[in-house]
Symmetry: C2
Subunit: 405 residues, 2 copies
């Protein structure tokens, strides 16, 4: 008998039929003797409906009130799920973030969880109830309603699993696990049985939308096994856990990619201390997040400095750099918003050499020009022209034979 926290996303509770299906799945799992705590998102479409109402009154709407509004979405789905369970004779009880005291900071619309009261939940479980908790929401110390930001229900699930010392946190979604890469690009992409937290973090931050980064970080920090599963089809899904001996000994676990970035290059930057800070300080002041940063020392005592930002921030960043050019003594500023980033991820890299050269060889074979390279312990990322994204991903998937286990 295990204590399992299950999280169902908006699509999984998106209609009366889907809610009924989830209720029946829960009852079957409970019949196997497991204790269940369920976290639900708002029914798909509901959050968008509420956002549209708010925006038609005020844009941006007052953050405190926006959170009060959005929090109703999960409250609706949690109560409906409990009704479906109770109607089938399964005792159930729903709780808002406030009711189980999911204490957060006061950063409305992007609050962070500080503490959860597990007393109510343990008491209900002891009485044989399924406990259903609203995802995405909490309260601050003054009992104001807060929300955790888009996808925050994953974080609620993991935080509950941590607080309750659950055996596993299962994230039900509309895909049946984490794949070696996006099957829409590589049809023979393979579902991974197991990944370690570090790999999932790289995959998530590189564009795999299956899990929220914050939720994976949280699970990693407290070592709670996470499992990604389909709410539609039965299957083992993908387990994300601490790296261990039983872990698949693959060189490469997956290929992530991202076409949301743009790159900016400053050519002929005077090579003196503090110059990187001068450049990026001005970017940070505009609240623009920088992803990759590369600096090469040139022969003439000057340096070339390249970084990437989100494509939405490209124009703003280019503008500030053009203004700074003279002040910084930069020779030229170049920009490119038609780039894509492709990354190989795998803990196997730690102990294996030659991965990078295999990667570069595969890309060269198809005539794909590499614009930037960046590496970390378990990741190699390259930036290429966006036109070559799909071709590059397919070339790498084949080169590393990822369709075979």
């Amino acid at each position: 008998m295990a204590l399992i926290v299950q999280k169902y996303g908006g699509t999984s509770v998106g209609s009366i039929e889907r809610i009924t299906a989830v209720a029946e799945k829960l009852i079957a799992t409970r019949a196997q003797g497991h204790n269940l705590v369920v976290v639900v998102s708002a029914m798909s479409g509901e959050t968008n409906r509420l956002v549209a109402l708010a925006k038609s009154l005020a844009d941006p709407p007052k953050a405190r009130e926006f959170d009060v509004l959005l929090a109703t979405g999960e409250q609706v789905s949690m109560s409906l799920l409990c009704m479906a369970l109770e109607a089938r004779g399964c005792p159930a009880r729903s709780y808002t973030g406030a009711q189980v005291h999911i204490l957060t900071d006061s950063a409305h619309t992007k609050a962070r969880i500080l503490e959860i009261d597990d007393q109510h939940i343990h008491a209900d479980l002891a009485q044989g109830r399924v406990v259903v908790v609203a995802g995405f929401q909490g309260i601050d110390a003054k009992r104001n309603i807060t929300t955790l930001g888009r996808g925050g229900s994953d974080t609620t699930g993991v935080a509950l699993a941590v607080a309750l010392k659950a055996d596993e946190c299962q994230i039900y979604t509309d895909v049946d696990g984490v794949y070696t890469t996006d099957p829409r690009i590589v049809p023979e992409a393979r579902r991974l049985d197991k990944l370690c937290f570090e790999e999932m973090l790289e995959m998530a931050s590189l564009g795999s939308k299956v899990l929220q980064i914050r939720a994976v970080e949280f699970a990693s920090k407290y070592n709670v096994p996470l499992r990604v599963l389909s709410s539609i089809e039965d299957g083992p899904g993908t387990l994300i856990a601490k790296e261990d001996e039983t872990m698949e000994k693959a060189l490469i676990s997956g290929i992530a990619f991202n076409r949301d970035e743009a790159k900016l290059t400053l050519l002929g930057v005077p090579d003196k201390p503090g110059i990187a800070y001068q450049i990026l300080g001005h970017i940070a002041e505009l609240n623009i997040e920088v992803d990759m940063i590369i600096q090469n020392i040139g022969a003439d005592g000057s340096t070339d400095f390249t970084f990437t930002v989100h494509r939405n921030d490209y124009k703003k960043a280019l503008e500030v750099l053009n203004k700074l050019a003279t002040e910084l003594g930069v020779r030229e500023i170049q920009g490119d918003e038609h780039i894509a980033k492709i990354s190989l991820v795998g803990v196997g890299m730690r102990s294996h050499a030659g991965i990078a050269s295999t990667m570069f060889k595969a890309l060269a074979h198809y005539g794909i020009n590499i614009l930037m390279i960046s590496t970390s312990e378990i990741k190699i990322s390259v930036v290429v022209h966006e036109d070559f994204l799909e071709l590059g991903v397919r070339a790498l998937h084949t080169a590393f034979n990822l369709k075979e286990k």
Copy 2:
């Protein structure tokens, strides 16, 4: 400078346009120097939408979860109203029933308010904020979400006015006040400037749908002046307050009516102690509410016993009486579900004779047969065939000259 509690019903906050109009009205009232606490219902249509969702999953749905679901309706409208206020530079803050600790008993779907925490609200008012509170909802001692039943937002408004010692509780609705009778039946019906609580209670319990009986009782008990106003047009509305010297010295304030009842008559009931209890005890066991009860002693030592019930309960009541007939020694049982009740209401009756005879004369003039008569200190009710309802109401409105002030 006054402290005013205003309650807006579902139609008044039924769309973005209406919410905007309410926000502007509030800002204008606040500019006159008043402190405002606002109670809102769910947007019109929203409660029905939620009920339909619930009923498609379980019928009846689990009461605890049904309350959790319905409570989201007011949470949506309160946050939207605050956004509209804040967007216009008016500081505002919304609170759910749980947040201002509207403590109720645990009777889900029909809970009663026990206590309200006024600390938060007073603190916000002191800081110049408009406070917006969700109507219709509260929490019980175990922090379960409860609701007060349909129309419960009126009760929330009055309860808040009592707790905050407000100067007036204003109920905004889609009519501009309480009328001498329903203007759909009598076009020259007149809006009343003032009514006393007792009159309003009689009017409400006799079918006038403007205010919830419970809210009027609450206001009367704690002597909080109530005012019914239109949220669409400006106007003085109708003030409902304690009877006093300044009260309009009318004989009759209004005419209420009701076509939801049916009558049952037991002829030739043995005239012995306990017989009324024997009859009505069986009716009460079926949870059927009885309205009027009339008993006449006959010449032959037997008695005739007539009472009215809601039309929905008529068949059930007739069935049980037919079963009881022999046991009770009753000669005959008659029923009529085509009746209507017309009532004259007015505190003036206390000190004036001749009201009843004027009433009966007016009805006789139009050949309207009176089937039952029942009186109280400030009310005379007659039961007639339902076909004569409109004619009877018009005849009485004219006979008592109610169109003139």
